[in-house]
Each structure stands twice: as structure tokens, then as C-alpha cells.
């Protein structure tokens, strides 16, 4: 999905560049909170890991193979801010050194591959971890779902950017169908590998998995035959665990009902709701392209049966778009919630700890 130069027009590239720069600035501050002065070496090494893992090809079938994108993996293992930084640095270096992805398209690439994948997957992951029963298995399940959604979400983001500033007027419905269709498949591969990898790390060093901090047990010492809480060595993890239990359960039910309802509404109801072409198709029609398309669709062009394909896929992509929309909403909602909570609790508590409450 590395976008080359000339694929997206100059103004859109500039705007996405600004978006990417802003997100990286936020992540730099956030990563310093996640890792303090360990940021440079650790994020650097994790970026090297992502870079190496992208070379790890997994066989799919009949001689073809795919490779990991790593956005979801980075977000779950080291946290969203560091994840954004790592993937962005990987993309920057790929652009400058290996000419993989255009320099002017760097903003587009960072926005859809580093920011969207990381943010969507982390939001979904945190939501599911709060909803599911505590345990290692739910971490694996949550990372599977997070990764499976993150890749099509990036495809949707790309389609949107293309819709705004694409240089060719391929009907947006076709772009969406092709991009999302392909990336759902890629996403499944990504999800399996991500879930298994996170599972492997959780089994050996659960303390290294940023997304599984809740699973850590409080250190207790047996003194004269009875268990006593060990004094906290340093403040960072202790703050996360002194959360009141009652608040946790009530908030969890809230999360459960909210997330399940919206997922059901978005994923299934919209699946059955409209047999009409979806919104993007309609936009293409409104622009006056549709008459010609119809004629040509029935002509002898090799892609003549796109129309049929589009109708069958319109429902699916509608449902999918709904689910992804929920993901985005969860992100926005959590961001607001997060900001409010942070203001209330003051500056000494890090936002990552607050999120655990």
C-alpha cells in the first residue's frame, strides 16, 4: 500500500503531510510519557523489529506469500504513541532509502499506514480487553480482532484520501471495493500472525506487552506465613492497579453494552438495511458518471460484470464500513473521555494509567 508520487494530488498530499506531522508531534510527547528517556533506544529497536518482521514472509497458498504490516502489532506490544512513531520511522526510511513510497506521498503513507492502523487497532484492542474476561486468551482474541479491523480501516482511509485527491477518476465505489476486498484478506493474515505473536510474547514476558498491563499481578511476599503486599518499587505501574473495583465493573458493563449494541447496529443492521448502492456509489452517480458507466458496463469491456459484483458487494462493504465507523467513533469517544479524565485527575497521573481505571 506504499503510495508513489503523483498518485494523490499536491494539495491533498500537503494536507495529509500536516496531519502526519501533527500526529507525530503528539506521539513524540506521548511516547516520552510511555517510555521517558528510554524512548530513543527502545522505539528505535522496536522500529528495527517492525522493519525486520516486514521481511518475514508467511506462505499463503499456492506459492504466494504475504507479509506483516505491523501497525497493530506495534500498538499492542509497545503502546499506541510509540507504535505510531515506530511505523512512521520505518515508512520514512523506506521512502528515503529504498524509494518505497513517494517522498511527497509520505504524509499519505504515514496517515493511513501508521496512524490509522495503530489508532484503530489500539482502540479496538483496549475496548475488547475491557469487555472480555481477564486472561491471556482474551488478549489474544482482542489482538486478533484489532488487527483484522486495522488493515481494512487503512484501506478505507486510503480510499477516502483517494476520493478527495486522487488524480484519476476511477469510480470511488470500484476503488473501495477493490481496496477493501483485498485488504480484508490481507487483514486476516495479519490478524492471525499478530494474535499468535502477541500470544507468544504474553506467554513468556507478559510484562513487555503494553496492552496487557492489566494482567500483571500485584507482587506479594509471604512474611511469617501470610501474604503481604510488597512495597511498590516505583510509582509507574502501582497507580494502575489501585483502581476501585466497583468502578471497574460498572464501567465494564457500560463498555459491553455500548460496544455490542453499536457493533450489532453497524455491522448487521446496515448489512440488511439497504439493497441500494452505498453512499460512495451514489456520489459517483450524482457526479453524472453513471449513465456512461451503465452503457459501458453492458458493452464488451473485459470488466463488464462489475455491476453485478458491485451490488453483491455493496451490502458487505456497507456492513464493513459500519463496523469500521464504530471503530472510529470509539476512538473519538475515548479521546474525549480520556481528555476529560486527564483534566480531572491532574497531571501527575499518566494517561496510560488513567485508561486502566
Amino acid at each position: 500500500m506504499h503510495v508513489p508520487d503523483g498518485f494523490i494530488n499536491a494539495p491533498t498530499s500537503a494536507v495529509t503531510g500536516v496531519v502526519a506531522a501533527g500526529a507525530i508531534a503528539v506521539s513524540l510527547r506521548g511516547a516520552r510519557r510511555e517510555l521517558d528517556d528510554r524512548t530513543a533506544p527502545l522505539a528505535g529497536l522496536v522500529a528495527a523489529f517492525i522493519f525486520a518482521v516486514q521481511m518475514l514472509n508467511f506462505p499463503v497458498a499456492a506459492g504466494t506469500s504475504g507479509h506483516l504490516l505491523g501497525g497493530a502489532l506495534a500498538a499492542i506490544l509497545v503502546g499506541p504513541y510509540t507504535g505510531v512513531l515506530c511505523v512512521s520511522v520505518v515508512l520514512l526510511m523506506q521512502g528515503i532509502l529504498f524509494a518505497d513510497g513517494g517522498l511527497t506521498a509520505l504524509g499519505v503513507n504515514i496517515t493511513d499506514m501508521a496512524i490509522v492502523t495503530t489508532v484503530v487497532s489500539y482502540a479496538v484492542f483496549r475496548g475488547l480487553v475491557k469487555v472480555l474476561p481477564r486472561g491471556r486468551r482474551s488478549i489474544t482474541v482482542a489482538s486478533f480482532v484489532a488487527a483484522v479491523l486495522s488493515v481494512p480501516a487503512a484501506a478505507v482511509a486510503f480510499t477516502l484520501i483517494y476520493w478527495i485527491g486522487g488524480t484519476t477518476d476511477v469510480a470511488i465505489g470500484k476503488v473501495a471495493t477493490a481496496m477493501i476486498g483485498v485488504h480484508v484478506l490481507i487483514g486476516i493474515g495479519e490478524a492471525v500472525i499478530t494474535a499468535l505473536t502477541v500470544g507468544a510474547v504474553v506467554a513468556v514476558r507478559p510484562d513487555l506487552v503494553h496492552g496487557a498491563r492489566d494482567l500483571r499481578q500485584k507482587l506479594r511476599l509471604r512474611v511469617h506465613g501470610e501474604l503481604v503486599d510488597a512495597p511498590a518499587a516505583d510509582g509507574t505501574p502501582a497507580g494502575a492497579r489501585t483502581a476501585p473495583v466497583a468502578a471497574r465493573t460498572s464501567r465494564r458493563t457500560l463498555w459491553v453494552t455500548g460496544l455490542v449494541t453499536s457493533l450489532v447496529l453497524a455491522g448487521f443492521v446496515s448489512f440488511y438495511a439497504s439493497a441500494n448502492p452505498d453512499g460512495l456509489e451514489k456520489v459517483a452517480a450524482d457526479k453524472g458518471i453513471d449513465k456512461k458507466t451503465e452503457e459501458h458496463a453492458s458493452s464488451d469491456s473485459p470488466l463488464a460484470d462489475y455491476g453485478v459484483k458491485d451490488v453483491t458487494n455493496a451490502r458487505l462493504s456497507g456492513g464493513l464500513a459500519g463496523v469500521i465507523g464504530v471503530g472510529t467513533t470509539v476512538v473519538a469517544g475515548s479521546a474525549v473521555f480520556w481528555a476529560v479524565r486527564r483534566r480531572r485527575t491532574g497531571d501527575d497521573v499518566s494517561p496510560t494509567a488513567v485508561e486502566n481505571v
Binding site: P4, D5, G6, F7, A10, I24, L28, A31, D37, R38, A40, P41, L42, A43, G44, L45, V46, A47, A48, F49, F51, A52, V53, L56, F58, P59, L68, L73, L85, V89, I96, L97, F98, A99, G102, L103, T104, T167, T168, D169, V170, A171, V192, I193, T197, V198, G199, A200, V201, V204, R205, L208, K292, T293, H296, S299, S301, P302, L303, Y306
Partner: protein, 253 residues
């Protein structure tokens, strides 16, 4: 791992282009690509002139044409995509060799191919005349946030180490008779990735401790500040300014 000091794309040399300060080269390439992208696609001759300009730079840098063309192969996936465009794009159609092609799609394919190729060629020229360390210094000089430059430099420095770690794991797997053939083997690969992550992270922790013991307090001291004279700047910026001239002509004609 014979080469620890240069990346795969670097081509050692002592040409005037190799000798330019890295930040001037970075700025020049970036400006050039921006100019290329903002050229109207109908001005076909302009892209030819851009290619000539890049050819001149390659000549100055003594990068052989074969080397450059081989590196351009990275673009192949997009060529495939561009070839598809005339079939799926909307609008007016023309018949070429019995195929119904979209005019807009043809323009779009040309647009992506021309601009993409020029962008890749410019990046390849930059990478083949600039060492890694210089590139990082150049990025720092261009006021990229220092933390980002540090992360990038750690990634570059340890990239080979981590890749080697992965290669050793692969050798270990294969010497035990493992061969990844299909879905059933994903688990093994994922466990390798997990182990690789743990090793990378722990190495990061060790690197951090080693840095602290040498007095690291959040920033790496800059020992060799790169500077560029006015002559070097004007030499480097000759490329984008020439391109700008072509671009302006392209818009006005």
C-alpha cells in the same frame, strides 16, 4: 553481513554529488519531487525534460544507467496498477487495438507512471550517493525533531543486528527440518516473531543502560555539525530550480 557501514543502495564514489552536504541533497530532492508532482500531466514534454535533468545528475554522480534502472524495478507493483487504470476508469473511451480504454484512465496511468518513476529515480539517486549516517545528519540539520532522528538512527544501526537475529532463527528452524509450506506453519513463524520482539526489546533495554552509563541524558551530542556554503547550496538547488523553470513553462504553454 560483510557491510556494516553502508546500506545496500549506497554506491561508493567521490563525485561532486557525493561530496555535497547531505541536507542540501535532501532539500533538493524533496523540492524536485514537489515540482514534478505539481506539473500538469498534459505537458508530456516536461516530464521528458525532468528525466534529462535526472540523467545529468546521474552522470555527474557517476552512477551508471544500468544500476539506476535496476533500482527502478522497485516500482513494478505500481506499473501493474497503472496498466489496470485505463480499463477501470470512467469517462470518454477510445478504441485501441480493439480494447475499449478510458481516456481519463490513460491520462491517469501516464500521470502515475511518469511522476512515480521520476520520484523513485530521484530517491534512488539520493540514496546511492549519500551514506546512511550522512542522511541522518542531514535530516537532523533540516530540523526533524531530534527524538525522531535518534529513533531513526537506532533503527538503522540495529536493523542489521535484528535482521541477523532473525536469520539465525531461520537457520535454527531450517536445520531442524522446518519448512514453511502453508497455514499450519504460521504458528511457528509467529512464535519466531514473538521471540524476535523479546530479543529486540531486551536489547533496547541493554542499549539504554549502556547509554546511561556513558552519560546519556535524553539527547545525543552532535559531534560533526554539517554545514553548507552558498556555493554548495546553489549547486544542489540547481536541479529543483531547473525543474521549476520547466514546470512554469508547462503551466503556461
Amino acid at each position: 553481513m560483510g557491510a556494516g557501514h553502508a546500506h545496500r543502495l549506497y554506491r561508493h564514489g567521490h563525485s561532486p554529488v557525493h561530496g555535497l552536504p547531505p541536507h542540501t541533497k535532501l532539500a533538493a530532492v524533496l523540492a524536485f519531487v514537489v515540482v514534478v508532482v505539481s506539473t500538469p500531466r498534459e505537458a508530456m514534454w516536461a516530464f521528458g525534460l525532468y528525466a534529462v535533468l535526472l540523467g545529468l545528475v546521474a552522470r555527474h554522480a557517476r552512477v551508471p544507467a544500468g544500476f539506476l534502472l535496476k533500482r527502478l524495478l522497485i516500482e513494478v507493483p505500481f506499473v501493474a496498477f497503472a496498466v489496470l487504470m485505463p480499463f477501470v476508469a470512467e469517462g470518454e473511451r477510445v478504441d485501441v487495438l480493439g480494447l475499449s480504454l478510458s481516456v481519463n484512465g490513460l491520462w491517469g496511468a501516464w500521470n502515475v507512471l511518469a511522476k512515480g518513476t521520476l520520484g523513485v529515480a530521484a530517491s534512488v539517486l539520493l540514496a546511492s550517493t549519500t551514506e546512511l549516517r550522512e542522511l541522518l545528519l542531514g535530516l537532523q540539520r533540516l530540523r526533524l525533531p531530534p527524538l525522531l532522528v535518534q529513533i531513526a538512527s537506532f533503527m538503522i544501526r540495529y536493523g542489521d543486528v535484528i535482521t541477523d537475529e532473525m536469520r539465525r532463527m531461520r537457520v535454527a528452524r531450517e536445520s531442524r527440518g522446518f519448512e514453511a509450506r502453508g497455514l499450519r506453519h504460521w504458528g511457528v513463524l509467529a512464535k519466531s516473531a514473538g521471540a524476535l520482539f523479546i530479543r529486540s526489546y531486551e536489547r533496547g533495554e541493554r542499549v539504554h543502560l549502556a547509554m546511561i552509563s556513558r552519560g546519556y541524558a535524553g539527547s545525543v551530542p552532535v559531534i560533526d555539525e554539517v554545514t553548507a556554503s552558498r556555493a554548495q547550496w546553489s549547486y544542489a538547488l540547481a536541479l529543483p530550480f531547473a525543474a521549476l523553470l520547466v514546470c512554469v513553462l508547462g503551466w503556461s504553454l
